[in-house]
Symmetry: C2
Subunit: 341 residues, 2 copies
């Protein structure tokens, strides 16, 4: 089992200025690489009022210079917001400066306030997503000039450069997928899958089964780093601290709901879009890595038995102390398994 | 007098793959900082077929992690191509990760093939430029959500984050300006000016006069780093090598012309847009720093006497050896002057 990070900088409540939270996050990621975490996947959001990361590829480019082995991912780049050729250029630049460490996660967007802010019709999201992903792939791989006359974008006689250094055929594409159709489609087309942080172990097992089955039917090789699962990390050094961690997780849920809210309108019924955000203690127990090191090891072993080989941890404003504690008390149980395997 | 770099990576003729030229350029910039060069200003171009830098802010973000004191500039970001809020987010992210070293150069675009490729009407360039610059400034400085209903872009209830760390009032804005009206307007509005690499010393002197006069009339303070002049660097260690350097400069002119050409159409009459590209030896003599160290010192002293306090060097595919030679043989003549002043 391999471990990575999921998230990005944003201001903790009450903090002023965006430089401090970015610097803290950067230090956190750089030390995480030393501790054995193998990737960082940055979210992209806009207009939250919390100083969140928005230019994810720009921040990844900086992190490329401060890290040497970790994969640098987006989870996800929201395609409907971006002009696809400029986006392909930015992503290829990250791939170059990182010597081929880009993992390009793509999505349709789900937050009501972002569609509202950009004045983009949510009903267009799927069509924009498909046209944009196609254009990025063509930009990365075409050695000839091409024209494009699409519904949302048009270009004439373009060759898009620089081109990525992962060119056989291109940097990995990751999609957030949960339904049987979308998981099977990703597997059959060679895309990788990001599984959300709200599904239970049983749900994850079913989704991985779909992925591996469709991949096998398509004659594609199965690799451990093709499916990544995000989990909240609620590791504590004493059982008495568990309740406070559950409350912190519920606070995160309330903040996502507030962030997705259109100013002056009621909060959206489902602020996490296609994912089901259940703020109950039972749901948190089922869909986080929580409790003492022994409890966390047990939960991760259960995921491993369900076919999960790659876990990304989401710990908003997480102190580096928690990652150090994880690396010392939990990670060795899995390093040993990998070495034996 | 202070010195910086102007340009960006692109593949030398015959080279394959974009990773190598980017890596060479990055190494060049990092050593230049050690040698005493105080800035790098990256161009932005598209669709040349030469693997040129396109995502300038993405590359600057990477350079932020490998440098510690040099200013990180764009010369220029071509505003009509970009969605202004996403651009403001990228630029602010560079400003944060560099601890406030962003110099944001802005322009309208001039290459025919870029307007053609993006399918943007050149007649709209000025209006797009003005709307985009206004939106970037509002994005960087507004602490409240705002609406925008423009000719080219519209947004609703947005607050744009992260915000830059240079916030008194915002990162410096640089404009490419040459006419009396545009130079005076920049000075009066607190913008800095990038002067092109084709004007003679006498032309530069006149432009700086306009800038300082308009600045004085507006009651704004005069600082040495408000006007930067770009020059080709044709420094050689022996007079016999000068002719080859002039030919290299002419090759650059021909390549700019070819890069600005719409595929299948005749080369543009004026490939450098508002700037006059004169490929004669006389023009090259008048508008480059060329020859032996003593000759270069003399030319730079003449610029200094004309009021130039900041020179950016453009040396396409320039080897680091030339910068080392410059730092050793030319720079000390000016370091001493600065120390005495």
């Amino acid at each position: 089992m391999r471990f990575g990070l999921f998230g990005g900088p944003s201001r903790p409540p009450g903090q002023v200025g965006d430089g401090k939270s970015f610097r803290q996050f950067i230090d956190y990621v750089v030390e995480a690489e030393q501790l054995g975490f193998e990737s960082v996947f940055l979210v992209e959001h806009h207009f939250t009022g919390a100083g969140q990361v928005s230019a994810s590829l720009t921040l990844l480019s900086y992190l490329a210079g401060l890290t040497s082995t970790m994969r640098l991912g987006t989870a996800v780049t929201v395609m409907p917001w971006h002009q696809p050729l400029l986006l392909a250029e930015q992503a290829a630049t990250v791939d170059i400066v990182s010597n081929g460490r880009l993992d390009f996660g793509v999505g349709r967007g789900y937050r009501a306030n972002e569609f509202h802010g950009f004045k983009i019709d949510p009903d267009e999201a799927q069509a924009r997503f498909e046209e944009a992903v196609g254009l990025v792939l063509k930009s990365w791989t075409s050695k000839e000039r091409f024209n494009h006359d699409g519904r949302f974008w048009s270009f004439r006689d373009v060759i898009v450069e620089p081109q990525p250094v992962q060119n056989d055929p291109h940097p990995p594409i990751w999609v957030a997928a949960g339904s049987e159709g979308s998981v099977r489609k990703a597997a059959a087309t060679g895309q990788r899958v990001l599984m959300d942080q709200f599904g239970s172990t049983a749900v994850c097992a079913e989704r991985i089964g779909w992925y591996r089955d469709a991949q096998k039917q398509a004659g594609l090789p199965a690799l451990p780093n093709q499916v990544a699962l995000t989990r909240g990390l609620l590791l504590v050094d004493h059982p008495s601290k568990k309740a406070a961690e559950f409350e912190r997780r519920h606070l995160m849920g309330r903040m996502i709901a507030a962030s997705a809210q259109i100013p002056g309108q009621a909060p959206p019924a489902n602020p996490t879009g296609p994912f089901v955000l259940d703020k109950s203690d039972d749901a948190t127990q089922a869909a986080t890595i929580n409790g003492t090191p022994d409890e966390c090891i047990g939960q991760l072993k259960a995921l491993e038995a369900a076919g999960v080989e790659y876990v990304l941890f989401n710990d908003p404003w997480g102190g580096i102390e928690r990652l150090r504690f994880f690396a010392r008390e939990v990670m060795p149980a899995f390093r040993k398994a990998r070495a034996l395997a």
